[in-house]
Amino acid sequence: MATGLKIKTAAELRTNYLRREMFPTIFCDGCGLGNVLNYTLWAIDEVGLDLDRTVFVSGIGCSSRLPGYINADGLHATHGRALAFASGIRAANPDLTVIVFTGDGDGAGIGGNHLLHTIRRNMDVTVILVNNFTYGMTGGQSAPTTPDGGFSSTTPYGNIEHPLDICELAKALGAPYVARWPVVSPAQPVKSIAEGIRKRGFALIEMLTPCPTAYGRRNGLKEIEQIWRWYREHTVLLDEWEWVEQFGSPEEREALRGKLKIGVFQDTERETFEDRWAALVAREKL
């Protein structure tokens, strides 16, 4: 495989990483959240993280249930506040690795301000933000990411609000690592999550994840195969996107409309809050 992964079996992942008493998961048929969990475990295995020294933090929503399935320390916090709780953990004990699972509503709606400031401080956390365009757990209401015109139980006549591009926001705020991948192919997300964990500083991996139950069925994507195919057909790699924008024909450029750019958008270095605090303490401690 492209990532150079040593193939683990699902059975090995189950034995090494999962709280088996929590299975099967609460996720619906065709939901990609189980895949996000699967890819995260592959990435953790690749990085060789010590689960005794790793804390999984989340807010509220479908994606925020993920820490409960992992046999490690977990903090299933309040809605939107995962990054505040995670910041407390990292600030008080920078020796712990912190991985945050959040959703588009949790992380960028109610928790948008925490996202902004956690990136600004550059807390060394890896945020896996699962974007399914909707509030799935409450039955499919419009989210800050619901596409223009998208139908939901609270936009029954189509969404009139402009959707938020979470990766563009993170990039603008100077997050050292920003990537977006659809959940439909495993290799790139596994590689990106591993890179995010290794990155010293804030890493955001936005996972585009199908929600056939709450979003798909209102938007003509009810069948599992159909909605999964939609993600393949409506995502365009960054390089290709930029090529089309620069050199593409008007038809090719028009074809980008309604599609989502995927890839690694930012991969830089920036001093973290933790490093700067440690330096301050080294200077000022009596």
Binding site: T9, T15, F23, P24, F27, N38, W42, I224
Partner: protein, 73 residues
């Protein structure tokens, strides 16, 4: 030759493994699992090349590919 093991307590019958199998070695079984869903089955084992995409794509950690003869934990 490969075989697959399905944890029928965890499989929700989403059939993503069947949909994405590059060699079309899997199919949805006609029978019901104890959970009341149709699990996948390896109907054309000669086609399975052990790529394990089904394992990687399974949202429920329910499918494991093994090489025949290898004892699997």
């Amino acid at each position: 030759m490969h075989t697959i093991q399905i944890d029928e307590g965890w499989c929700k019958g989403c059939a993503l493994c069947v949909i994405y199998c590059p060699t079309r070695a899997l199919q949805v079984a006609a029978r019901f699992s104890p959970r009341g869903v149709h699990p996948p089955e390896l109907v054309r084992p000669e086609r399975c090349n052990g790529c394990r995409l089904c394992e990687l794509l399974c949202p429920d950690f329910a499918i494991t590919v093994t090489e025949e003869g290898r004892v699997h934990a």
